[in-house]
């Protein structure tokens, strides 16, 4: 049977992959995608803690997923918009 540990290990692995992407990629859009990946890893944690928590019927996981995944969205999107409209060529310095 799955334990909470497996989900937490998976999400920390995804977080590290996202962090590596943010640190090593030069294309700024892919850096933003790396940030997206780290946010997704956090969401897996929310859902896993909700499911394995003392009171899964309280639905807290659904809300704690809903708000964190929706609130960084404007920043992310405006980042993409800024890159595509203003800077044009998002290449970071080596």
């Amino acid at each position: 049977m799955n334990s909470l540990q497996n989900y937490l290990l998976l999400s920390s692995l995804l977080f590290s992959i996202g962090l590596a992407g943010v640190l090593i990629r030069r294309n700024a859009i892919l850096v933003l995608i790396g940030i997206e990946l780290m946010l997704n890893a956090a969401n897996i944690n929310f859902i896993a803690f909700w499911r394995f928590g003392p009171d899964p019927s309280a639905l807290t996981g659904s809300y704690s997923h809903f708000f964190p995944s929706a609130s960084p969205r404007p920043k992310q999107q405006s980042g993409w918009l800024l890159f595509s409209l203003r800077i044009g060529i998002p290449e970071l310095p080596t």
Binding site: R26, I29, Q77
Partner: protein
């Protein structure tokens, strides 16, 4: 560890690693879609139907398309020969591996995370909508305000650009 979890975890990790490692940016986004679909399947496996389907709609659908658009709009043919990774990529990989090592050690050494799955709760969309409209109405409104502000900001940025071109 069940077989379905293993398959989904492998699929997700492979998709995400490819998304961060491939050379072509469009291929990266396609691999990212695979990873997001794997995460959605994990949510469904955990019994969070609403969240899983929202993940498919928002991430697999909208975010991937937005990323493809952003990449194509900013595509620069001159940058095709430039390296895709930063020159200090080894340092970045070491930092990420160290972060994973710390997290994994903390998670696997704790006894608090080994409990087995409690019985399946019934989290219906009806219940979620009901409490979003009653108990969590204020956070919902604040989020709506934030999204509206972002929308207006996007329009303002685009308008500025148009005036510059004239």
């Amino acid at each position: 560890m069940t077989a379905s979890f293993m398959v989904l975890a492998l699929l997700t990790v492979a998709g995400m690693a490819a998304a961060m490692g491939l050379r072509n940016a469009v291929h990266c986004v396609l691999a990212l879609t695979l990873g997001f679909a794997g995460i959605a399947a994990l949510y469904l496996q955990l019994g969070a139907q609403f969240v899983g389907l929202a993940q498919i709609m928002v991430y697999v659908g909208a975010v991937a398309i937005l990323a493809v658009f952003a990449i194509m709009m900013t595509h620069n043919p001159e940058s095709a020969n430039l390296p895709v990774f930063s020159s200090q990529w080894i340092v970045g990989c070491i930092v990420a591996a160290a972060v994973f090592a710390v997290l994994a050690r903390a998670i696997s050494s704790s006894a608090a995370f080994t409990q087995v799955l409690p019985p399946q709760p019934d989290a219906t969309v009806h219940q979620i909508g009901d409490s979003l409209m009653h108990r969590y109405i204020l956070p919902l409104e604040i989020m709506g305000l934030l999204l509206t502000a972002a929308l207006i900001g996007a329009v303002v940025i685009a308008m500025d650009r148009k005036e510059e071109m004239k």
